[in-house]
C-alpha cells in the first residue's frame, strides 16, 4: 500500500466530532494519551456490521456469520502486520492494554514467578503495568524493583543494567503517558534476554504514534489498546511469542477457548483462541481494522513526524508563554507527543476546567501514574497530548486559553 503524505486538514475532515461545536467553538482535542477521536471509516464500520451482518463468529455456518468471522480474523492479520509479528497465532484480542497485561500476570506470572524472584519495572509505568506486578509479587513473595529516571526524564540505563542481572521479568512502557519519554526497549530487551529475563513491553502509548516491530524489538509480550489509535473502545491486543503462549495456561475459561469438553475434562483450543474465551467484541474488533488501515495509509513514519513537529512548536510556544514548568525530555527524538506541565498559582484541575470553557480538552491529575508523580514530588500535572489530526492553530488556542487561566486564577 502506498503511503499518502499526511494532510492534517483531510484527516480532521474525516473525524466527525471535529465538526461539532462546544460552547460555540470547535473542539481542540489535546487529550490523545487518554483516548483518540475516531474517523468516520471506523464509526461506519460499526454501523455496517450491526446493520448488515451482525452475528456470532467461529460458530455459524451461514453466510453472515462466515463474513463476520472472516472480518474478525482479517483484523488479527492487520494487527500482526502493523506490529511486525510473525504469525496471527501470536495475536490475542483482549478488552484493552490493561487486560493484556493482566492476562500475562495471571497466567505466565502465576506459573513462572517464584518466591525470591525479581520483577523489574520502571518509575514511568502507568498503573496498568504496575499494579498487576505489585499484586503478583506480593502473592509470590517476589521482589518488585523500579528502574529510575534521570533528571531529563529519560530512563536511567545504568540503573537498568545494574538491576537486569537475574531478574525474572522486565515489564516496561515504550513511551511514558506523562513525560512522553521514549524508552529504548530494543536495547533493554537485548540485555534482559541475554540474562534470561522475559520481557513485556507496554505499547499503549507507542503503537498509536510510531512504527513498532515486535520482532526487531525482541520482546516476549507487547500490549496495546485500540481506542488510543483511532479504533473503538473495548479492544486490546496482546502479542506473545508463540512458544511462550503455547506453554501458558489459559486465562478465562468457557466457550470458544476449548477444543473438546467432556463431563470431567476439557482440552484447550489452539492459539490464539485459547485466550479468547466467550463471545468476543466482534463489532469493535472488525471496526479496529479500519483504524489500522487508516494509520497505515498515512504511514506511521509520517504520523510520528507530524507529532514531532507539533510537539516542537508547542514546547516553543509554552516556553515563550512563561511561568510554566514543562516536564520530560527536551530532546524530541526521545519524546512522544505528550507535554506534562504545571503552572504556578493554578492547580492542574483548574487549568483543565478553565481550558474546557474554551473547548480545549486536556487532562489533569496523576494520569494513572502516581508513583512517577511522587518521584518528581508533583501533586499532579496538566497534560496536553497530540495526534495526527492536531494543528498548530490548536496549540495557539491552548496557549491563548492558558492566558485566561492566568487571568482568572492568578493571585
Amino acid at each position: 500500500m502506498e503511503a499518502l503524505a499526511l494532510d492534517v486538514e483531510k484527516v480532521g475532515a474525516d473525524v466527525p466530532i471535529f465538526s461539532k461545536l462546544f460552547n460555540g467553538k470547535t473542539l481542540a482535542y489535546l487529550d490523545n494519551a487518554a483516548t483518540s477521536q475516531k474517523p468516520k471509516q471506523v464509526i461506519e464500520a460499526l454501523t455496517d456490521f450491526y446493520e448488515g451482518y451482525n452475528s456470532n463468529i467461529h460458530r455459524g455456518v451461514y453466510e453472515i456469520s462466515e463474513r463476520a468471522t472472516e472480518e474478525y480474523e482479517r483484523t488479527r492479520e492487520a494487527v500482526r502486520g502493523f506490529i511486525g509479528a510473525g504469525s496471527t497465532e501470536e495475536i490475542v484480542f483482549t478488552r484493552n492494554a490493561t487486560e493484556s497485561i493482566n492476562l500475562v500476570a495471571r497466567t505466565w506470572g502465576e506459573s513462572n514467578v517464584r518466591e525470591g524472584d525479581r520483577v523489574l519495572i520502571s518509575v514511568l509505568e502507568h498503573h496498568s503495568n504496575l499494579v498487576p506486578w505489585q499484586v503478583l509479587c506480593q502473592a509470590k513473595h517476589a521482589k518488585l524493583e523500579y528502574i529510575g529516571i534521570k533528571g531529563d526524564g529519560t530512563l536511567d540505563m545504568d540503573d537498568f543494567k545494574e538491576k537486569a542481572g537475574g531478574a525474572r521479568l522486565l515489564a516496561v512502557t515504550q513511551a511514558s503517558n506523562v513525560l512522553g519519554t521514549i524508552v529504548p526497549v530494543k536495547e533493554m530487551a537485548r540485555i534482559a534476554r541475554r540474562e534470561g529475563c522475559t520481557v513485556l513491553v507496554d505499547g499503549a502509548q507507542s503503537a498509536p504514534h510510531m512504527k513498532v516491530d515486535v520482532n526487531d524489538m525482541g520482546c516476549d509480550f507487547f500490549a496495546l489498546s485500540s481506542h488510543k489509535m483511532l479504533g473503538p473502545t473495548g479492544v486490546g491486543v496482546l502479542y506473545g511469542r508463540k512458544d511462550i503462549l503455547e506453554a501458558m495456561p489459559p486465562f478465562n475459561l468457557g466457550g470458544d477457548m476449548i477444543s473438546e469438553v467432556h463431563s470431567c475434562s476439557a482440552s484447550w483450543n489452539e492459539l490464539p483462541w485459547k485466550f479468547e474465551a466467550g463471545t468476543s467484541n466482534v463489532a469493535d474488533v472488525i471496526a479496529f481494522y479500519h483504524a489500522i488501515s487508516y494509520l497505515e495509509r498515512m504511514s506511521m513514519e509520517s504520523v510520528r513526524e507530524h507529532e514531532m513537529r507539533i510537539t516542537d512548536y508547542a514546547m516553543d510556544r509554552l516556553r515563550e508563554f512563561g511561568g510554566l514548568h514543562l516536564y520530560g525530555p527536551a530532546d524530541l527524538s526521545k519524546r512522544a507527543g505528550i507535554i506534562a506541565f504545571t503552572m504556578d498559582d493554578a492547580h492542574p484541575h483548574d487549568i483543565a476546567a478553565v481550558l474546557d470553557r474554551e473547548a480545549v480538552a486536556i487532562r489533569s491529575g496523576y494520569h494513572c501514574a502516581q508513583p512517577l508523580h511522587e518521584s518528581l514530588s508533583l501533586g499532579g500535572t496538566a497534560r496536553a497530548s497530540f495526534y495526527l489530526y492536531n494543528t498548530e492553530a490548536e496549540v495557539d488556542r491552548l496557549v491563548a486559553a492558558l492566558g485566561k487561566v492566568r487571568e482568572v486564577l492568578g493571585r
Binding site: 484541575h349 483548574d350 476546567a353 474546557d356 470553557r357 501533586g379 486564577l409
Partner: protein, 131 residues
Amino acid sequence: MSDEVYKEIILDHYKNPHNFRQLAEPSFKADDSNPLCGDHIELSVKVADGRVSEVGFIGKGCAISQAAASILTDLIQGKTLDELKGMEKEQLLEAMGNPDLGPVRIKCALLSLKTLKLGLYPYMSARGPTP
C-alpha cells in the same frame, strides 16, 4: 462545564483563604486527601462550651477544594457539635454559591466537609453523649 464554576466567592476564598492556619491546641483535627487529584486538607477545630470556638485549615490543591475549605471554616464557627454532625453537603454548596460542578469536581468541593466529619465522629464518641 459552564462558566458558573469560578464564581467570585470561590476565587476570593481561593486567593485569600480564611482561617488558613493550624491551631496549636485543637480539640480535634483530621486530614484527608482526594487520591484522584491530590487535593489535601488538614482541619483543626477548637470546641468550647459545646460549640466551635476556633477553626483553622491548611491544605493544597485546586481552587474548588481550597475555597470550599475556607468557606467551611466560616460556616461552622459557633455551631454546636450536633449541628456539625447534621451538616449536609447542600449547606456547603449553597455557601459556595451553588457552583455548577460535575461529578468529578464535586469531590473536590466536599473534601473539607468529609475531613470535618472524619475528625468529628471519633471526638464525639470519645466524649460520650452530651448531658
